[in-house]
Symmetry: C2
């Protein structure tokens, strides 16, 4: 059967090709040196040549051709130079969005309703509206703003005016106008690096050191034992233990907790998974204490786990109050369903651009493409195959690979290495053998291929990994 | 002499044309009603038809043609459907940026150095580097991150590692890892609506009500008397009075103030101007107390005041430490000159996208266009002419117009109306007579035409305003 990649990436290479002894090679290294005069290049893995990249393969400045299982930190959904997205990029609608970028909230264009409806078509189950932002961190901050405004409006009476004292104190950044309210996040979570989102994030000190922070509580996120079928009892108790830490914070925190924010899979923090029971438990606690539940689908959303929105797998009831997105969507924002999450007065949730129509157009096009071509069922199949092959490698190299996880969640797979040093060498060796991937958490390696990744690519990936492991 | 608009907007209308009795008219109102099912339309002025808009004229859903002196809240620099920007929008480089959006910090493209250098060519005097963001608020938050990291690194020793206590406390959002440090902003300022930027912003309670906030200090921004030549002594004392409030905060605030952030002209807060002496005074205070000076050019930058960067007019010495930008640039970020404003470790100032190349390409193209076509000298001339004509109206309608300001600052002009109600009616009447403009502060009306606005447009604008005022 012809795959999406076969059909739309006829020029996709059959295999990686590494032509230099290091990556970056000499040409890339020279270009990076020059670039470093005007850009912080310390985090560069390599310099890419996007004009030559195709489908699931990325090409670097030296002409190295790598199978890409990382895809711009999980943010390229449809492969490089996807011809159907190129058509959208060349459309009149996109041209307008590029040269006449509107201040959407004040002067939306006549074509805007269609653009907005195009992304709402694929909203998570139970969600009716969307608010647009510009990045994952921005989406989470906007969602928190909606929550705090709703929390105080509910207390005050949704349609009640601000009091004189609130107005005066808020100009001094003091309560009651700027109340002390908290959002609970989880140990090892990542929600962004703006100031309020950095206050949520607990993945690494490096992500938030030296920034003034809000004093907000954390709960424990489950640390499961793998393989799952052999650790059912342990993991169930782990859910319960963690839920108790959350409820304890609600009981004891010095100020009200207005929301809980959680990733369906903690990604940056190590690909930490949790069961439906854990997420339903969070939902129940938030309902009990009058808090909102925000699901952060920035990394997991838009099909990455084999369904459009990863949290739908847990059938959280009632659905979460807000669901944030970014990365693969190219655009960002939050979905919600309660009209009272729209602040009671205009201009409270507002900024000049209220999103970026060119990115929103792209988001709609990506989701349409995913659905029209049945990419998610295909990805689920690929994911199971990929998992089974990685499981074979884990059995073959038990001293190196452990905690393989993500079964049944598309290609959103991860495993652990014995030490950070070993992991660094493994990732570098994989790259030199033609595969690009990323790390997460203390010991994790995460796979984040695009949604066009299929069995053929798994069959390229696995022998390379086998070879690299045998020499590690 | 043929103007830029004559040359590049041959299809630009000769005059506004209003065809409906209300704006929005029946067609727009129906479309907005439908749009409101999926978008918060409470702030919509009207629905625009960008495909029909041209140059300095915006067309709405009903076919009304308005001279646009507001330009998407000051964010359209080069007119609607600018043919030279359309060329850029259709370029291969832009196509790549649209369909292969990179995680710049990890995988910048081979063409990225050129894109980055293109905006650095027009950096403010004394600034050498740029860090990219996604909006004005994002730019200001990124700039504050750079400041706080620099402040603590300087205290710790730029290359010194974090202590164990810092690492542990920072995972709990507590000092010393997350120190209590402040940024001083000014009464009536606007720097954005994310959490840390909302903590800076003091324009209106509505902009920040109900959000938890950092307890940060404010200084007084001058309130000048107009006309300036008649109030030299008063305004000089006002500068001194305000500077003293800033120095008092440095002396008395309960935690260190790491930076002062200020707009060259407080825009959202009412188009409040200050003299070079005030800005130099701020520079001197920041140097005295070891704080950084951040100039927020989000609304004033990219040529709006007749020079590329408004603060250059004040010849601040030494130049500010960081200059933030957005709006007319389409892109956003901050310029800086001290290499130590780059955090000592990689991945401290980082996020998935590190900017958006398509917007950065557009920023470079816009600045190049401005310079190649000499738009700023032309705008300065237009501005003086516009000011003189508005002054005539102010003399003619002294009960309605007052505090005309912005002379010598391009078309970045403003004046006050007697009451908010009168102002609302004036703006609505102007629109119904074919001119779109905006308000600011308590009583202000701000003019924010694009950089392609010229004498011809002034000569359209003034008689309409005269007519509207005579009937107000």
């Amino acid at each position: 059967m012809s795959t999406y990649a076969d059909k739309y990436f006829p020029g996709e290479p059959d295999a990686p090709k590494v032509v230099t002894k290091t990556i970056p090679g000499p040409k890339g290294a020279a270009a990076i040196k020059s670039l470093s005069e005007v850009f912080d290049t310390r985090c560069l893995t390599f310099l890419a040549d996007y004009s030559k990249s195709c489908g699931n393969f990325i090409v670097d400045a030296d002409g190295n051709v790598l199978l890409d299982a990382y895809c711009q930190i999980a943010s390229i959904a449809m492969g490089y130079n996807n011809p159907n997205l190129i058509k959208v990029a060349k459309s009149e609608k996109m041209l307008r969005a590029l040269v006449d970028r509107p201040a959407l909230g004040n002067f939306a264009g006549v074509d805007y309703e269609e653009i907005q409806r195009d992304i709402l078509k694929y909203a998570p189950k139970g969600q009716k509206y969307v608010w647009n932002g510009l990045s994952g961190a921005d989406a989470n901050e906007l969602a928190m703003k909606a929550v705090f405004m709703n929390y105080q409006s509910t207390r005050r009476g949704y349609d009640k005016p601000f009091t004189a004292e609130e107005k005066k104190s808020c100009m001094q950044n003091l309560p009651p106008g700027n109340p002390e309210l908290a959002v609970l996040s989880f140990k090892r979570c990542f929600h962004g690096r703006l100031f309020a989102t950095a206050s949520l994030t607990r993945s690494k000190p490096l992500h938030k050191m030296d920034m003034p922070a809000f004093h907000w509580p954390t709960g424990e996120f489950p640390s499961y034992k793998y393989p799952l079928p052999e650790n059912v009892e342990y993991n169930k108790k782990e859910d319960e233990r963690c839920l108790k830490t959350v409820e304890d914070q609600f009981k004891n925190w010095h100020c009200p907790i207005a929301a809980v924010i959680v990733e369906p899979i903690q990604s940056e923090g190590g690909d930490n998974h949790a069961d439906a029971a854990f997420f339903q438990g969070l939902r129940d606690i938030t309902l009990k204490y009058g808090a909102k539940l925000i699901i952060d689908e920035v990394q997991t959303g838009c099909g990455g786990t084999g369904i459009m929105w990863a949290h739908e797998r847990y059938n959280i009831t009632p659905p979460p109050d807000l669901v944030t997105f970014s990365k693969k969507m190219q655009s960002s924002g939050y979905f919600f369903h309660d009209p009272e999450m729209v602040p009671n007065l205009p201009y409270r949730q507002f900024n000049t651009w209220c999103g970026d129509p060119k990115n929103i157009i792209m988001a709609g096009a990506i989701m349409k493409e995913i659905n029209e071509h049945g990419l998610l069922p295909a990805l689920r199949e690929t994911g199971l195959y990929f998992y089974s092959k990685l499981e074979e490698l884990q059995n073959k190299y038990p001293q190196i690979l452990s905690n393989l996880r993500g079964k049944g969640k598309g290609c959103f797979l991860a495993f652990d290495m014995p030490t950070p040093e070993k992991r660094a060498k493994f990732l570098s060796d994989m790259r030199l053998n033609g595969v690009n991937m990323g790390d997460c958490g203390q010991l994790g390696v995460r796979l984040r291929p695009g949604l066009t990744f299929n069995k053929k690519h798994v069959d390229i990936f696995i022998p390379i990994m086998d070879r690299v492991l045998s020499n590690l």
